[in-house]
Assembly symmetry: D2
Homo-oligomer: 363 residues x 4
């Protein structure tokens, strides 16, 4: 199944960038969970194109219509479907490049995979626009988790070499998480944020784009959630996160830095605090050991490549006649996807964690 | 399912470090595939403890007995089960630390998850020993892929700061892959390998351990394999790779380095070569676009943390009475898991790719 | 997953009887398959309420809007979503019986399962109306199968003791299948059909309802499709067929009659015909041996209970205060679901067979 | 996956009739559940060949060795694997008929499916012998359910036209279930049992075989277990039951008899009894409405065809050269599989119900 994932929570995402609508079905949600639609739209609004220069000029209202699974303000427990109409379609922007493979995009691989029958307009099903239904699902799951005290939030750790301060993976609080999510340009250091905005703007003016890293944290997940081997928290989160376009890597806790560490540095020593809670003094394990939560904050970082659509001429192929050619991409696109990717990462994590939480006794 | 993964190829791994046996069931293998048992044992031998100082002194013969699914030297198409007896068990090594949570291990999280009923001797089901059946499955899948010309191999890219040269992700050949696998200490640069061995030995003498990075490549995978969203090549590979203990991160192609790049650098321009094949001049995309293979080599890197078992005293908790305590781990353990992790990464990739290849027309 | 099934073809059905819309997402369809919308609506029209007395007076236009996965008249290979608006809702019909459990319905079990939060209007997600998206999915799969020569059709074998002639499970042809489907009241014997209509009308006038049996056949399925144990054709078909409300049993080939037979009668002897095709002279095995198709027609029968909604007073409970009470169901309902169930059975079979056919070499 | 099923409980069955061993991996069992090995062997013993004339003369000790997932007498929560050695193999019995398709068996379909590479000796993976690991898994699940008061038992309802009395689906008690299971020839009426034994013996003397029906009941399953559509109790039970060789049909509650009934007869009226429990006065729904348990006993019937192996000459094909031929099957085989199928049906039901029960709050 390409766009259907079925753990304890099932998520089925459908739609193409320039088709009539996109949407999602969420199966096996717990019943009786209220959904605050304002908070949900706020979550999705963080993914929507910004009204400033860092983002595409395409205007997407992206107001989801709930078709099922929601009654009297609460989840019914039966499949919840939300549909988002595609209202602002400019297919003609793409017509002239229909058979030129845009470098960095899935145009060529999609055409081979689907033997030329997929809808390539605007990337079709591969479009970043499909993260809107992912965010819808993630926002719903997030509200259910927050009702149990479990909060997930992310910030921009890096854009084109400019680095924000990292989350304090030991002491981060629920309030820190909420604060991070409320910023219009979500960095911990505003100064780093300003520099990043400048990097993005410079790339845009230069008809180029830049990549970056999103760092995400979850607080208050109880210990004992997850499983070893193929159904651990990392496995499920990674499977979902790689469903977001442009992701090139994921790491948990100390991540790739462990390759420079000694065991005596990396090992997080356990202790029992004065309230009788088990904790670790450092959190290089990112809150997960053997696929199972330790009770410490879950931390992870996700690498996003620079937007593939750039307005410079690029060499490529015309796959209608297999010749070498040159492409100049017009149309609307973000010079950097990272700011809008922040809630997408949160969404993927929320879905993964709620799915595992359903196994938790007394959930 | 913790230890069962069911794509097109199903893999079910069972066993504990100190139980009677460990093993694996592989379901839905294509029928009529011969398995070269010498090559298979050679593959598994690369994972077995080395006879030098870089590795645990535990002797595991690890000769798998095939119980089913294999007849007249070929796969039958029905489930193939292999069992490996646990012959060299020294449970007493672990007796005295039975209720002290070893830092970096899944002792504490496993006890919470399984309410104290899991077999904790030697890590139980969380033990690195469970990678033996994973390697068995990966070796079988690998032989089937190689019969179609698809070769996967990995090397040690880094150990504790010492870096090997990277795989040439554009020009790497089948022979390069085979050569990489034949080395007893698999680095591309022998000099880098020597330095790494010194790092490991220094750590061992210092009662410490070191982490590192494995880099893996697959050549000759045809274009068009995989799917968008949740069932792409990255999703499946990541889900399997995080099934290997001690993995903290995975990246494809340029990976986390994309966060420092411009789109104009990162985008891989397509061209048609003189034979009419579609290629890219660079391979920052790691052979995967939109979850689907492009025909270029698949490249990925996996971060492994330092061995958690170190012989120094460490602070920790005694979870039988929830008190703070100190642990000194005795017993046999590797000062660095990375050399033995190399075939494990190959195994995970082989399973993921064969699973996706079964959808390929005329496979 | 309650309403999501993920084999090689994924199907995710959503909606409630009186919500805004119902629909379905079909994942992993082969790309490049044209869909004849007239034929599709004709298929769905056979499930729609009849304009005669055998059926509910509720008017459902049930025109599906395709939201995705369909481009230039062909499947794209990415998820195909169809939505059907609920236009003719009379919720007030159900208001007064909101907390009385209708006997034979899932009102009580649904309320326990979903802790009272499910949408009970008109049966909610348990409504027979949800077979409309099932039929949509089945019609799409059926057209893809028919392009390969594989035809599935069903007829009413029995209604309240009146029995139609059985399908000739050895000699049934493609034309027989098509003829069966074209009848407005699908029986092989028109005389039997008339008697059945009389039974239904008699029940209706008596404020009662009647049950029956649907018999289904598939011709030209090649030998070798399916798998042993849990993923055989019977397993998959049964899992889907029990997704249709009111089904109480399923049997293949000779079915329950095998309990009266000798092996020497039941065994179907193989022979090679003059064209070199392997056949059996009888077809008690219903075209399936060991979960795998034999090349003979697939035959099965499905039992449907009488419509649970009857207009007579019935004893029941009020689950709001757990007291005994009496219910008299008003509103629109069929005195017999069997005629409308005929295409639903075909749909379930089509989905199951296409799912298995995707494993077929050169499909 | 042919022989791997992954709901909340995962079951992976492997082995061939004449290979080294058969077995099963059970994944995601709850931890801390004790297993009474005597009761387990007793359960499996009911499936083993009887020492009388109704059964094959093959002696199978079938003592399962537990390889993992079981520690200090309790389940660990990690995968439980059991292996049964094949000790009493007489492959030569089958050698001479190796390329003649035995009518009623999966020889021909298996050879097409697996392109001639499957192990056909004794039916290979299609052998009834593979129900031994199924029974192992079912026995383990059954003990876990019984600890919660949920008991499942079955009896022979019919053999070749001779009918036992049916289970009282309204008043059946836990003690009735246990009594049924303790009989060596499990019928409710001993007289009916004697007649059945005579039918089997007559068939045997006549070199023939007979089929029958197994009826199964589960008591004390709480209301609210299961889900609508594709993941209801019927769907899951049916998917598992069709994994038992020779099954041709399954029905729940009144089953196929509903085709002769009025809604006013079939509907089971609810009432609240003096203890405040919700019940129905009749149980035509078999304890399941909308895929979800009602709290009434779960009842189902499964049809088994006559043993396909009969010692009479039968026409068939030689698939090595596609010619018509004649086969006379020698070797050991039961003239009726129904008595040994009784615990197999219980096993399938136990696995299905435990799988669904894991979703139950406070399980």
């Amino acid at each position: 199944m390409s766009s259907m994932i079925s753990g304890r929570i099932g998520v089925s995402i459908f739609g193409e960038s320039h088709g009539p609508a996109i949407g999602v079905v969420i199966d096996n949600l717990p019943s009786g969970e209220s959904i605050d639609m304002d908070k949900l739209c706020e979550f999705m609004g963080r993914r929507a194109p910004k009204k400033d220069k860092t983002s595409t000029q395409r205007r997407e209202k992206d107001i989801p219509s709930i078709m099922s699974g929601f009654f009297n303000g609460k989840t019914t427990g039966t499949p919840l479907c939300a549909v988002i109409q595609n209202t602002d379609r400019h297919s003609s922007d793409y017509g002239n490049i229909a058979t030129l493979a845009r470098p960095g995009h899935a145009d060529y691989t999609g055409v081979v995979r689907y033997r030329g029958f997929n809808d390539i307009r605007g990337g079709g099903h591969f479009s970043g626009r499909l993260t809107a239904p992912l965010c819808f699902a993630g926002a719903v799951c997030g509200q259910i988790l927050e009702r149990r005290g479990i909060y997930t939030g992310a910030h921009i750790l890096k854009i084109h070499g400019v680095r924000d301060v990292s989350i304090d993976s030991v002491n981060v609080s629920r309030d820190d998480v909420i604060a991070m999510r409320q910023k219009s340009f979500p960095t911990i250091s505003d100064k780093a944020g300003e520099k990043m905005i400048n990097e993005i703007e410079a790339a845009r003016l230069n008809l180029d784009s830049v990549g970056g890293i999103v760092e995400c944290v979850t607080v208050n997940l109880p210990a004992g959630i997850g499983s070893p081997m193929f159904d651990g928290l990392e496995n499920t989160i990674a499977q979902l996160v790689f469903g977001i376009p442009a992701v090139k890597g994921i790491e948990f806790g100390a991540g790739f830095e462990v390759s420079d560490m000694y065991g005596s540095e990396d090992n997080d020593e356990f202790y029992v605090d004065e309230k009788g809670h088990v904790k670790t003094r450092t959190n290089n394990h990112g809150g997960i050991l053997g696929g199972i939560s330790s009770g410490m904050p879950i931390t992870l970082r996700v690498a996003f490549k620079p937007t593939s659509s750039i307005s410079r001429p690029q060499h490529t192929i015309n796959y209608s006649n297999m010749t070498n050619d040159t492409i100049t991409i017009k149309g609307r696109h973000d010079p950097c996807v990272v700011p809008r990717a922040v809630p997408c990462v949160e969404a993927a994590v929320n879905i993964a964690l709620l799915s595992h939480m359903l196994d938790y006794p007394n959930f």
